[in-house]
Amino acid sequence: MTSPESRGPLAERLPKHDPPRALEERVVRTLRARELLTEGRRRGTPIWRPMLALAAGIVLFVAGGVVERLRADGASGEADAGMPRYILLLYGGGAQSSSAEAERVREYASWARTIASSGRYVAGEKLSDSSRELTAAATIERPATDPESLAGFFIVSAASAAEADSIARSCPHIRHGGKVVIRPIEPT
C-alpha cells in the first residue's frame, strides 16, 4: 500500500519527468466536453466592464481597511506535515461591487475548505488596500489602489511543484480574471 508521497529508493536519484502544464487543461477540456466536470462560474466581460471596474475598485478599496480573513470556518494547520509549502500570491481580479466582493470571499472560503479537506491548506488572507512602505529613511503611506496590486494570499502544501500548479489553477481567482503567482517557501 502506498501513498502519493511515498516513493521508492531510486526516486530521488533520477531526473524528474514533470507532466506538461498544458496536459491538465487538455484533460479538463475533455472531461467538461463529456459532462464529467462542470466548469466553474466565469465572470462575464460586458463592454462597460472597464469603467465599472474602475468605479467599483475605488469602492472596494475604500471599503477595505480591515483585514478580511479567508479562513474556512477557522480551518488552518491541517496540511500534511513535512511537505513542501508554497505561497500563492493573488494579484488583481478585484470584484466589481461590495456585494460581489462578499460573494467572492464566500467563494474563496469554499475553495479553501476543499483544499483543507484534501490536507493541503495551511493559511490564507485577504489584504486590505492600506499599505505602508518602510525603509531606514522614511515611512510612506501608499494605498494599494492599483487594480493589479496584491489582493491576498494562500499558503498551501504540495508534494511537488506540479501539484502546487494544479492547486493554484483550481483557485477561483484565476476565473475572476486575476493572476496567481506561485512561490516555493524555503524551509528554515
Partner: protein, 194 residues
C-alpha cells in the same frame, strides 16, 4: 463551526485515502472541477513519470495519462476503494500503455532463490541521474516495469502483483533480476547504456 466538525467523517480501509474520498465524492456528486484538479495534481506526476519510463515517448505518455483520467472519471462511480486510488489509476495506466503496444507481458518466471534472498539495491556510487535513467531504459520491459513500480514509485510487491496480474513471488523475482541487470549496466565496463 470548526472545519473539523464540518467535514464528513471517513472510515476508509486505507487511512490516507480519507481526504481523497471526500474529493472523489465531490467529483461524483457535483462534477466539482476544483476537487478534480486537486486529485489531478496529487497523482499525475507519478502517472506521467511511470508512463514516460515505460513508453519512452513524451507524446505517448501524455496521451496515456489523458486517457487514464477520462477512463477513471467514466468509471469513478464503480470504484469501490478495494485498493488505493493511486493503485487503481496506475492499473488503468498500465492497461492503456499495453493497448498502445508500448509494453510487453511480464514473463512469469519465478526464481525461488531470488525470492528467498532478494537482490539488494546496491548501485555504484556517483552514478549520474541521466546514466541511471538510461540504464533503466535499457532494461527488458518486464524488468523495467517492476523496477519502476517498486524502486522508483514505491509500490509494494502485493500492489505490483495486483497491478500486473502476477503473484508477489513473481514480482520479487523479477525485481531481483532487474536490480542485478541494472547493476551490470551501470558497471564501468558496460557501454550499452550510453
Amino acid at each position: 463551526m470548526t472545519l473539523a466538525t464540518s467535514l464528513p467523517v471517513a472510515t476508509p480501509k486505507h487511512p490516507e485515502t480519507a481526504s481523497e474520498r471526500d474529493l472523489v465524492a465531490r467529483v461524483l456528486d457535483g462534477r466539482d472541477e476544483t476537487a478534480f484538479r486537486l486529485l489531478y495534481g496529487r497523482h499525475t506526476a507519478s502517472l506521467y513519470a511511470i508512463a514516460m519510463r515505460l513508453t519512452g515517448e513524451s507524446a505517448d505518455a501524455e496521451d496515456a495519462v489523458h486517457d487514464v483520467w477520462v477512463r477513471a472519471l467514466d468509471a469513478l462511480a464503480r470504484f469501490e476503494w478495494r485498493s488505493s486510488l493511486r493503485t487503481w489509476l496506475t492499473s488503468i495506466l498500465l492497461n492503456r500503455i499495453r493497448e498502445l503496444g508500448r509494453d510487453e507481458r511480464l514473463v512469469a518466471i519465478v526464481d525461488e532463490e531470488s525470492i528467498a534472498a532478494p537482490e539488494r539495491l546496491e548501485l555504484p556510487r556517483n552514478v549520474e541521474p541521466m546514466d541511471l535513467e538510461a540504464a533503466i531504459q535499457a532494461l527488458p520491459p518486464g524488468y523495467r516495469r517492476v523496477l519502476v513500480l517498486h524502486d522508483v514509485e514505491g509500490f509494494t510487491h502485493e500492489d505490483i502483483a495486483s497491478l500486473l496480474d502476477v503473484t508477489p513471488g513473481t514480482s520479487k523475482s523479477q525485481l531481483a533480476h532487474a536490480r542485478q541487470r541494472l547493476r551490470r549496466l551501470l558497471s564501468s565496463d558496460e557501454k550499452e547504456i550510453r
